[in-house]
Every structure is written in C-alpha cells, then in structure tokens.
C-alpha cells in the first residue's frame, strides 16, 4: 500500500520508542527504519505488510501513554510500521475516549458522573473538582505538563460511591482508578503516587453468602477474597485447574454437552444460550477458530466482571482455556476495557504465570492441545462491548458493530469462526463442570439455571456484589444488601443499567429470572440493581441516560446516531418545562425507529429505560 505520510513534525524519539516497544523495531526502510541499500531491491507490501493492522490500538495506547496525545508525526510512524492509511488510523484514534488527537495536559482525570455516581453526589464532586482544578476541560498547572479533568461515563466502581480514573502520560503507572474519589485524594495521588490513599488494593464489598446469609453457598464468588489473585499456587490450592482437567477428560464433545445440558444463558446482557454459539463454532469446518472473552464491562452500574477479574483472575484464564478447548480454538483474547488497569495487570500476571507453568501454550497441562491467551485493552467506548464491535476493535478498527447475519460463529475475528462470551458467563462454566450440566440446570428456575451476580448500587445500605441463585426476588436482593439506606422509601429500581428498565416498588416481588423479567417488560441485562429512594431526582437521572446514549453511539446508523440526539433534546425540552404530553407522539416515533431499525443492541435499547420510566409514570405529565 502506498502511504502518504505528510505530518510536518516527525515522531519524537520517545514516541518511536513507545511504538517499537509494542511491535519491535522496524526491519527495513519500508516500515519506518533506516533506509538501507538492499531496500531498493525488496518488495514490501501485500497481505504480510497489512497483517499487523490488529495491533493498531495497542500501538495507539503506547503513544498516548508516552506523549499524552497522538500527534500527527506519531500517527504517521504507527501507520508506516503497520501499513495502515493515516486517515483510517486517525479514524480509529478519534473514536475512543481514552485517546486524544490534540495536544493535551499530561494528566487527565476522568470523573464519573454516570447514573450510579449521580445518586451518590457526582454533581457535588464535579463542583469540588471545578473549585480545585478549574472548569472541566481547562488546564490547571501541575508538574510542568498540566492536569485537566473531564466528566466520564460509568467507571465500574459503582459500589464505592464515586469514582475517578487518572490517565497520565510518561508516568508510572499510566492509569489508576480512585474510588471513592475526592479532589484532595486525586491531588495527593498526582503529586505523590506512593502517597497514602493510593488504591493499590481496592476494598470491595462483596457479600459472600454462607450458612448465615440468605441463599446457598456462593459459586461464582467462592474464591473471591479467599485466594491470592497473584498466586497460581493459591488458586490451585483452592481447586483451580481441576475443571480444565475434567473438561479434557470429558473431551470436546463432552464439554459442549455439559454446557448444553446446563442451559447456560449469557450473562453479559443479551441472555443468549451459550451452547448455541459454542456448538456453531466448534462444528464449523473453517479454521482457525477464535474464542474471545468480553471483559469490556461498560454498562452503567455494572462492576461484577471487574471484581471477578481483580480478585479471581486465574479462574477466567482457566475458563477461557476450557472454552478454547471446547470450541477448537488455539488462540483466545480477553478484551478488557481500558478503565480497568488493576484487573488488566492481574490478568496479565495470571496469564504469564499460567504460561510459564504449562497451563497455556503448546501442550496445555499435558492434555495434548494448544491454547494461548492475549489481552487486548479497550480505549474508552461502551459500544465495544457489543460483540461484533468488539471484534472490529480487536482487528484494530473503529468499534462499529457489524450487521448480522453473518454471526461471529460464521464470520468473526479475522473472518473466522469466533465465540464471544462475558466474564461471568465463563466463570459459570467452572461451576457447570464442577457439578455437571444436569445438576447445574436443576439449580435456579426452569428457564434460568444457575446463579447470578447482582451489582447493588445507589441508595442501599451495603452496596456491593451479591450472588443469588436465580429465583430470588428483587425484594430479597435489596434486603440482602441491607435494604434502602437510612430507612427511606423506595422510589424505583433500575434493572439492567442504562439499557435496562425501571421498575416501581410494586415490582419488589418480581423473581429475578430471565423469564419473569421478560414477562414484566423488564430486563436483567448485566445484573445492575440500582436502587433509587424518594430523594433521587429521576428527571436528571433520565437526562443522564439520554446523554449517555448520545455520547456512546458509534454514529454508524442513522436511527441511533440522530435518534439518540433527538431523544436527548426531547428530554431537555421536558426538563425546561414542556409537558411530556406534547412530546408523546414524537417520543413514540423515536422509540420505534431506534428499536426497530438500529444495527445493534445499543440503538435498540437506547430508549428502553426512558420508555419504562414513561410507562411507570415516573415522568411528570407522562402517566398514561
């Protein structure tokens, strides 16, 4: 490919070094190295030269971390190294929120003002940030290179009241989460990363149900807090890697049969039967196959996958290895959102030690199959959690969802059969193998087998991660977290996050199962239970949800790109006093087209929470 690289300022030595650290030094004058005499006599191009496109996002991360922004010169160098046209690479860089394509202060503080944090005083935090650091988006003096702060969508720390992510260029570490966050803690971290308040080990309020708690013993959370997340030995002592051995004993077909008999439904939000995906990939004659773990948890109010990855990383490595074995894949990817630095480093460590001890590699556990895992870091895009968008992102592209069909099982990563599953779904696999598919199917309810993690946040006494067998009612789950805090009365509950639905106090006896939620017109989504008491300003919460979808739409299809904007404008009018009754017809039309004609689940659910609020009469003047 003939690239035209026209940046006036070439990449700096630091930028080049950052790129080279990811993809190795250049070999010839053709891919960014020193021009040598023999370069005139070799051809460079074709598929081989273009085959490293999928490394683009990793390279952009390296540049961002080295320089604080992706300069034209650095982008050109990345393009030269990877044979990507600069316009396309710019399109990728300008898609993701953690990349900056204009000169930027060296430190950027992302302050979550999403729904769960809203309930816990995000506006107050933003006001204090403003007093400490100036208006959002402006630069304050700090350390020679400046600091700025900006509002952020959900950072997945919803159980801790408020959250911030600090992104730093040139510094170590480059990203760190602070929760609960306040301006002084952020400042002291900036000035002294070793200072007290450094959240090296986050405190997580995960409730482990035991003999004294409601429900049976924990399954997904059994090792959380009990094993050392940085020790393979500790994981093995807790029974780790026995399930992989069992799967190998059952064989590929036996393992697939267990998953089928367990009737496992995906836990990422769409509740798709896991075995259908796996069977389709496993039986596809096209090779190679790929398995992908979707750890791009970004649904506002969701933090379960982060906790699992931070506290039990080896379990995910083992489960993905079993998935790879069952699906006939030799390569797996974990696509983890860029806002989860601790989970990412723990997973990286787990993969490294597992590989060193033969649990990954050419002959996994001596069972005669090969499998390895690579971590890919997202860069700030909710839409990348949509499985086909995730696949595009893995390929180094903009995270724009693909049209389906064809489904990933036919045409996925690099055009090959690919199965994509959520972290919690994969961890459920370990339990399925432990007790057997039929026994797993017998737990929970008829159409919702097994147990489920619930992310309790908002106005509850003890926010945190709770595991229940399917069938527990909403009331039991909320009461299990201590009930509505301060004895206030319940106004509503948002189930499933921004893409979910509100339910009122009269739904407290709703059993939290896929079938009951569907029958009630709600959704379990990614397990969000955001409790809202009577002090919460629902109108501004709804505004935030409409903003979220406007900000996170990829912009590819018209219904979502424009529909999310028109929805936000509509609710801005309602907030400014227009009665909702005057907007009802327009809202119905917007809801209809986004739900019916959008390419992917983001657009199709962009109105669902708001629609449910309208139906519940939570919007003044909207009760029908």
């Amino acid at each position: 490919m003939d690239l035209k690289l026209s940046a006036e300022q070439k990449a700096t030595a630091a930028e080049k070094a950052a790129v080279d650290k990811v993809i190795g030094p250049s070999e010839t004058g053709w891919d960014g190295g020193e021009r040598q005499a023999r370069d005139a006599h070799v051809a460079f191009g074709g598929h081989a030269a273009r085959s490293r496109r999928h490394l683009l996002i990793g390279v952009l991360h390296a540049i961002q971390e080295a320089a604080g922004w992706i300069s034209p010169g650095a982008l050109d160098y990345a393009c030269e190294r990877l044979t990507v046209p600069p316009a396309e690479a710019y399109g990728v860089a300008s898609f993701y929120a953690l990349f900056r394509t204009a000169p930027s202060p060296g430190a950027v503080v992302h302050v979550c003002d999403d729904i769960a944090c809203q309930v816990n005083g995000a506006e107050d935090l933003c006001e204090r940030m403003k007093r400490r650091f100036g208006d959002a988006g402006t630069e304050a003096a700090f350390d020679g290179s400046g600091v700025t702060w900006q509002r952020s969508p959900c950072l997945g720390q919803c159980d801790r009241g408020s959250a911030a992510l600090i992104q730093r260029a040139g510094g170590q570490p480059a990203r760190v989460q602070i929760a609960p966050a306040d301006p002084e803690k952020i400042w002291s971290y900036l000035t002294d990363p070793q200072s007290q308040g450094t959240p090296a080990e986050p405190t997580i309020r995960s409730e482990e149900e035991g003999a004294d708690g409601p429900g049976p013993a924990p399954r997904l959370l059994t090792r959380v807090g009990a094993v050392d997340p940085e020790s393979l030995g500790s994981y093995r002592a807790a029974g780790g890697y026995q399930m992989l051995r069992r799967a190998a004993g059952l064989g590929r077909h036996g393992t697939l049969r267990e998953v089928k008999e367990a009737k496992l439904l995906g836990r990422g939000g769409a509740a798709f039967p896991t075995h259908i995906k796996w069977d389709a990939v496993a039986s596809n004659p096209v090779r190679p196959h790929y398995v992908v773990c979707n750890a791009d948890e970004s649904e506002p109010g969701t933090f379960k996958d982060r906790v699992l990855m931070e506290r039990d990383p080896y379990a995910l490595v083992e489960a993905l290895t079993i998935m790879g074995y069952a699906c006939g894949a030799e390569q797996g990817y974990i696509y983890i959102r860029g806002e989860y630095p601790l989970a990412e480093s723990r997973l990286a460590h787990a993969i490294e030690t597992a590989r060193a001890q033969g649990f990954l590699g050419g002959d996994v556990m001596g069972e005669g199959f090969a499998f390895d895992i690579e971590i890919r870091r997202g860069a700030g895009a909710y839409i990348a959690g949509e499985e086909t968008a995730l696949i595009n992102s893995l390929e180094g592209r903009r995270a724009e969802p693909r049209n389906k069909p064809p489904f990933p099982a036919q045409n996925g990563l690099f055009g090959k059969p690919t199965a994509v599953n959520n972290v919690e779904t994969l961890l459920s696999l370990l339990e399925i193998l432990r007790i057997g598919g039929p026994a797993y199917e017998a737990t929970g309810t008829e159409n919702s087998s097994g147990s489920r993690l619930w992310c309790l946040s908002g106005c509850v006494s003890s926010p945190g991660l709770y595991e229940y067998e399917f069938g527990a009612t909403l009331r039991e789950v909320i009461d299990g977290a201590g009930g509505v805090r301060d004895g206030r009365s319940l106004q509503a509950v948002l189930l499933g996050g921004a893409a979910g639905a509100f339910v009122g106090p009269d739904s407290l006896d709703l059993p939290l199962t896929f079938e009951d939620a569907r029958a009630a017109g709600a959704t379990l989504g990614s397990g969000v239970v955001l409790v809202l008491d009577d002090t919460v300003d629902l109108a501004s919460l709804l505004r935030r949800i409409t903003q979220f979808f406007r900000d996170e739409s990829c912009g590819q299809c018209v219904p979502c790109r424009v529909g999310t904007v028109r929805q936000e404008e509509l609710f801005a009018r309602v907030a400014s006093g227009t009665p909702f009754s005057a907007e009802r017809d327009l809202f119905a039309d917007i809801a209809s087209v986004t739900r019916d004609a959008s390419i992917c689940g983001l657009g199709q659910t962009a109105v669902s929470a708001v629609d449910s609020a309208v139906k519940l009469g939570l919007i003044p003047g909207a009760s029908s």
Partner: protein, 315 residues
C-alpha cells in the same frame, strides 16, 4: 478453439413480499427482490457498485420472525421468507430516518427520488424545532469522542451545518449536506480507488468524513479521481466547476446536454458522459452500468477535459 464459460446456473428462491410470491436467484438480496417486483424501496447508502454498508436503514423491511426490521440491501432472500414492505413499523422507520437526516443535514440537492420519499413518507423535519446555527469552520472536526455538548433546552435541533471545505481546484466538500452514508469512503478505499485518503473520524453525532487530522486534500493521500463525487447521494461532494456555477447562479441542468463518449487518454477505454452547458463541459461522469468503469473514473477522465475547451477563437 475458444472456450466459452457459462455461469453456473443459480437456484431460484421464492420469497413472499407483501403477499406476492417473488422468485429471485439464490443470493439475491431482498432489495433486488423488491425492485424486481416493482416495489419502490428507498435507499441512500446503497449503490450497485459498492459493498452494502447498511447504515442508513431507510431500506428496512419487516421479515416475519425477525425481532427487528432488516436492511433489505444486505439481507439475502431465503426460501419461505415472508416480507412486508409497507407495514406500520416499516413506514415509521423510513419516515423517521428521512426526518432525522433532513433535520440534521441539508438534503436540498439530493435526488428527485429522495425528495419524493421525504414527501411520500411524510417526513417533517420541523418537528425538532429550528436548526441550530451552523458550526464554525473546523469545530466539528475538533470534537473529542464521548465529550458531551449538553443540549441546553432542546429548543434547537442539532445539525451538521458548517462552512464548505474548498481547498483544491477540483472539488469541494460541503459537509452540511453529508449524511454519513460511507459511500465516498468506500469509493476512495477498497471498492474502487484504493487510496484511503478519507475515513470516518470521531463518533456518534460528531462522526464525520475526514482526512487524518482534518488536513487539506492536497496534504492528504487524495489523487482527485473524484470517485467520491460520483457516489455522493446528496451533492455534499461536488466538482468545483459545478460549485462555482451554482454560486453564480448559472448552473442550469435544463440547459445541459449529456454526450456519451470514451475517454481519450489511455487504452482502458472508459465510458464518460460529458455534461455540457453553453458549449462548455461543466461536469464529467461515468455511467454506473458501464462494464468498463462501473461508474468510476480517474483524475484525467473526470477532471482533465480543459484541453477540449482550449479553442483557438477564445485564445
């Protein structure tokens, strides 16, 4: 001996569209089935010579058993499919897509078909309030992904309106008219020119067609083949000759003749249509159905016609 290659005969599939059985070759799309049955189906991002990207969603139809509507341009017809092209859901979605686009971009130069669809489906852009004032030059190009520009009171409808980009002698880019159909990106890239000078940048409503860092076209990889102009459905991309005449008020298609001929430059033999007004070539296009060009040309064919007009009496 001359070998004659015959195409493998294709199986035929029967689909039911609006109660009628329509027979199409296997692999044909629902759009092709609809059109073969004479059912008017609006399209914006679809073009015969490009890979369907199915992003505009105006061609959606209802397929029984499918939870959502499906884009007819890219869904293959399957035996037994029951398709509805005029249901309430389909009509609402098509109306809303046209309404969303006409309320956020300038569709005044889109084809007569588009104007007809807007009227037929009852798209009413005024439902969203007055359009917001145009963005300053470069403002939309400087947006940060995910950054929220809060709608103050929702009284004005967000638009993509902005000044025209005019940075070279061949063509102008008026992104106030852009509906992000991806056609120009496809024509610049894998579907025709393989130059990759432009791509989608930004995201959400801030997504736009852009060179790297919004550099001017002369600084970009653009080779001025103009194939992006050829596929643009809203005249957001326009030859400079046409743009000037429109600015002066002299552009008059009723006074133009179209002469089909063959490009005089190289040996490929591209078909060209010369659009002539007042005995002067004002635009060159190539017919979509041409087997040689499939509607695409190079810089010489599309812009290299000045020598024809270098007449002695004018020197």
């Amino acid at each position: 001996m001359t070998a004659v290659f015959l195409e493998t005969p294709k199986r035929l599939v029967d689909v039911e569209i609006d109660g009628r059985t329509v027979r199409v070759p296997e692999g044909a799309t629902l759009l092709e089935a609809c059109r073969s049955a004479g059912i008017d189906t609006p399209t914006l991002c679809y073009l015969e010579n490009l890979t369907p990207v199915n992003v505009c969603r105006v061609c959606v139809v209802e397929v029984e058993g499918s939870r959502t509507l499906v884009p007819s341009c890219s869904r293959a017809a399957e035996t037994g499919m029951k398709v509805h092209t005029d249901s309430e859901r389909v009509r609402t979605s098509r109306k809303m897509v046209l309404e969303f686009l006409s309320s956020s971009a300038d569709l005044s130069l889109a084809s007569a078909d588009v104007q007809r669809w807007i009227a037929e489906y009852g798209a009413d852009p005024s439902r969203y309030g007055d359009p917001e004032p145009p963005h300053a030059a470069g403002a939309r190009d400087a947006t940060r992904p995910g950054e929220h520009e809060a709608a103050t009171d929702g009284a004005e409808a967000a638009t993509v309106h902005q000044p025209v980009k005019y940075d070279n002698d061949s063509y102008v880019r008026d992104y106030s008219r852009c509906i992000l159909c991806y056609k120009c990106v496809e024509a610049c890239g894998e579907d025709a020119q393989n130059t990759f000078a432009i791509a989608l940048a930004g995201r959400g409503f801030d997504a736009r067609i852009s060179t790297e860092f919004d550099v001017t076209l002369p600084d970009s990889a653009c080779v001025y083949c103009g194939n992006c102009i050829g596929v643009c459905p809203t005249d957001a991309l326009m030859p400079a000759s046409e743009y000037h005449m429109r600015q002066e008020g002299t552009w008059d298609e009723s006074q133009q003749t179209v002469t089909s001929t063959v490009c005089p430059y190289c040996g490929v033999g591209c078909n060209v249509d010369l659009h002539v007004q007042d005995n002067t070539i004002v635009k060159v296009t190539s017919p979509l159905e041409s087997e040689v060009t499939h509607g695409h040309l190079c810089v010489k064919g599309r812009f290299g016609y000045e020598f024809v007009q270098n007449r002695p009496d004018e020197q």
